[in-house]
């Protein structure tokens, strides 16, 4: 049996209730002084006058509720003994004896008794009693039908359920069930199920949702409260830039501005001309860059260092864009109005060249199954090939524009591509439906979020628009750039919800054409520029070392935040 033994000196016992008692403001009548814990005193419920007992520094948490929620959590986690012990030690039962009796009667199927016990639970208004009775009697009805006691079920229906005079439509549905058992399944009641014990537990769950929470504590209430707190911390974290798994209950979550990459860690000089496109692989281990010099380079990422792995030469024209295969083992490169080449990442070998006679290809992408690739053409159509080069499908007409952005959803069903200077076309391959996102300005590029629900659209007027494409198309946010009179040479980082500028990173000596976040390391950013270099950005090491204080409920205002 767990727990501390009774003959141990009191000082070794865990002083459970001390904080609770110290914060109590009313007067106490006790037979023993509070701070000495001897014998059974801890187990006796403390009588108090003048209000309920509170816990916590702000005195807003009622002790009885707090203990009951913990008790419930213990039972949910399967710690029956601990739960019972807590009820005993604290003197605070999880359920009143009436409610315990009620629950037991429901589990035992003593329907009529449970309905009458229901009436004895205080704090219930008539409607709730009726609704709860309805639920119980309905279950009784279904159990009778399950045992083929049709006339008994009918009697229950007529003499017990109907007189409640609530929920007539449900009553009629139950009537139909008498003659057609198939109706029961459509109502969500498998006759098989009602005969198992699990169904009575489900009934208790339904009843608990109906009754006020003071009577029966909702399931997983403690977990829910903790999740709420974590959510608040997340939302308050202005510079949040870490993986959610980094959240811990031991200290408040708080990203400082130092969690945003702000320092150039490396400058990569390998390209001989403007760098037009960058993309990290899905697993964050590689970075691919595409350049006007006609080559693409695969870089290997090793912690925070990036090193050249392969130079992919072969294109006769500038490389517009690259696309990593879903498993990162291969990569597609697209030459400007030229061909698409497929390469093996490990060896750097070119495995296949995809082309279409008489047409130039301007964009490329993979299907999520990794077995098919697609490409936009200079004649504005889209073509799909199997890996071996066999052409599978072709969508003709005004599908693309001479801009290389294309995207495909994870399920392979939606294809997004530019179809006018100011519009993006979303093709649903299965439903054969096309939708359009229209902007007031020319679109320069777009990218699809990982969960395929959002689309980030860059406009020529320096605005970036965030669209939701899940369900109805709707514009959710606009991020406005700074007014500039000269060409922009900085990398900008925005807060997604507040649309505020978090960071501006100078360093490039030419226009910044592309950026890519490392999907696996949120502290690594790469940018490519007309100055032919690629810059790798990371956290500011100096600031990091200063951050070793642990926060526990202290609210901080970030520099440069609001």
């Amino acid at each position: 049996m767990g727990g501390v033994e009774d003959d141990e000196p009191p000082s070794k016992r865990v002083k459970v209730s001390s904080t609770g008692v110290r914060s109590f403001s009313g007067s106490l009548s006790l037979s023993e002084p509070v701070t000495s814990f001897q014998g059974e005193s801890m187990a006796r419920p403390l009588p108090f006058e003048g209000g309920e007992e509170m816990v916590g520094s702000k005195q807003v948490i009622k002790k009885v509720e707090f203990v009951r929620i913990i008790t419930k959590a213990l039972y949910s986690l399967g710690y029956e003994k601990s739960g019972a012990l807590l009820e005993e030690e604290s003197g605070i039962p999880l359920h009143s004896s009436v409610v315990s009796l009620f629950r037991q009667q429901v589990l035992d199927g003593n329907w009529d008794e449970s309905v009458s016990t229901l009436g004895k639970i205080g704090l219930l208004d008539e409607n709730i009693i009726k609704s709860a009775s309805f639920l119980i009697l309905e279950h009784k009805f279904f159990e009778l039908l399950g045992k083929e006691k049709v006339m008994d079920a009918l009697k229950t229906l007529r003499s017990e359920i109907a007189p409640l005079s609530i929920n007539n439509s449900r009553l009629h549905e139950l009537s139909s069930c008498i003659v057609s058992p198939s109706q029961c399944t459509s109502l969500g009641f498998s006759i098989q199920d009602t005969l198992g014990s699990g169904s009575r537990i489900k009934l208790l769950d339904k009843l608990q949702k109906l009754l006020p929470p003071t009577v029966m504590i909702p399931e997983r209430r403690l977990e829910h409260l903790v999740e709420q707190a974590l959510n608040v911390q997340l939302e308050a974290c202005f510079f949040h830039n870490s993986l959610d798994s980094a959240m811990s209950l031991y200290t408040d979550h708080h990203c400082g501005k130092d969690q945003i990459p702000s320092q150039t860690l490396q400058v990569l000089h390998a390209h001989r001309d403007e760098v037009w496109f960058l993309q990290f692989s899905h697993n964050g281990k590689y970075l691919a860059s595409a350049s006007n010099d006609g080559s693409a380079i695969i870089w290997e990422v090793n912690e925070s260092r990036v090193a050249l792995r392969h130079t992919l030469s072969g294109h006769q024209k500038a490389v517009l864009t690259v696309s990593w295969s879903p498993d990162d083992s291969q990569i597609l490169t697209c030459g400007m109005e030229e061909v698409i080449r497929r390469w093996d990442v490990n060896s750097g070998e070119c495995l296949h060249v995809y082309e279409k006679a008489g047409l130039g290809l301007i964009s490329c992408g993979w299907f999520p199954d990794g077995k098919r690739v697609f490409s936009g053409m200079s004649d504005k159509s889209i073509c799909m090939w199997a890996l071996d080069g066999k052409e599978l499908e072709c969508w003709k007409g005004q599908r693309t524009l001479k801009i290389s952005d294309m995207a495909i959803s994870n399920d392979g069903n939606q294809i997004l591509s530019m179809c006018r200077e100011t519009a993006i076309l979303l093709i649903d391959r299965e439903a054969k439906v096309e939708r359009l996102i229209e902007e007031g300005q020319t679109i320069t590029s777009f990218s699809l979020s990982k969960d395929n629900k959002f689309l980030l659209v860059n406009l020529i007027n320096q605005e970036i628009h965030l669209w939701c494409i899940d369900g109805d198309l709707r514009l959710i946010a606009k991020y406005k750039g700074h007014k500039r009179t000269t060409m922009d040479l900085q990398v900008y980082i925005w807060h997604r919800s507040t649309e505020e500028l978090l960071e501006a990173l100078p360093g490039h000596s030419g226009a910044v054409n592309c950026v890519s976040w490392n999907p696996v390391n949120p502290h690594m950013l790469a940018s490519g520029s007309d100055d032919r270099t690629i810059r790798i950005w990371g956290l500011n090491r100096v600031n990091l070392k200063r951050k070793d204080a642990y926060s526990n409920g202290v609210i901080r205002h970030c520099n440069g935040g609001t």
Partner: protein, 220 residues
């Protein structure tokens, strides 16, 4: 501009329409025969010296008992006689068949014979439930079982005389149609048409006055 037909001073337009008394008598007789008023019809024929209609009184003699059984809720008897009179009529009119069976079910429920009602429903009514359009109606009937006082239930209209009249009328029409006779009496058709015409006139030309109402017209 059309004048108000009823209240305008003479001479009114319709006064010029000639009426043949024979036509009127035929209209009246058609009504009496359709609704199985056998004695009244015989009396009327005798008084006016009209010619008897072709199948008089055989047709009425066959239809009248069926009509009345249905009207009093004795649906099983009505069904039996209908089968004798017009063999596959009910098979060809499934809706009607269902309504008649429903009548019997309602009788059982009203006489508080629940077990019988349930059995009858299971055997005769639920087979219809396989077809979608009967499902809702079936639910309405079944709902009656839930109430110890079905007259006080939301479905009480199924217990009324009006409902029985409606079913009996439908049966009557079906039998007439089956015998290649008009299923609506001339009287009904004329009233329907007149009402419709009056309503159209009111819509197109009427002033602010109330639209045509037959009841009001008859009282005036």
């Amino acid at each position: 501009m059309m004048m108000d037909i009823d209240t305008d001073p003479p001479p009114r337009q319709f006064d010029q329409v000639a009426i043949n008394d024979n036509d009127v008598r035929n209209i009246v007789l058609s009504y009496l025969v359709h609704n199985c008023f056998k004695e009244t019809a015989e009396s009327f024929i005798a008084c006016t010296g009209m010619k008897q209609p072709a199948d008089f009184p055989v047709g009425i003699d066959k239809r009248k008992p069926i009509f009345h059984f249905a009207l009093e809720g004795n649906a099983l008897k009505a069904i039996e006689l209908t089968e004798q009179l017009a063999h596959n009529l009910l098979e060809e009119n499934k809706d009607l068949h269902f309504d008649l069976l429903g009548l019997h079910f309602v009788e059982l429920v009203c006489s508080r014979k629940c077990t019988e009602a349930l059995e009858f429903a299971q055997n005769k009514l639920t087979p219809f439930g396989k077809v979608h359009k009967y499902v809702e109606k079936l639910e309405d009937f079944m709902a009656l079982l839930a109430y110890e006082e079905p007259e006080k239930s939301p479905m009480f209209h199924l217990l009324t005389q009006e409902y029985r009249q409606h079913v009996a009328d439908s049966l009557n029409r079906a039998i007439l149609a089956h015998a290649n006779q008009p299923s609506y009496s001339a009287m009904e058709r004329l009233i329907q048409q007149a009402t419709l015409v009056r309503q159209c006139l009111h819509q197109d030309f009427g002033k602010d006055g109330a639209p045509f109402c037959l009841k009001a017209f008859l009282k005036s």
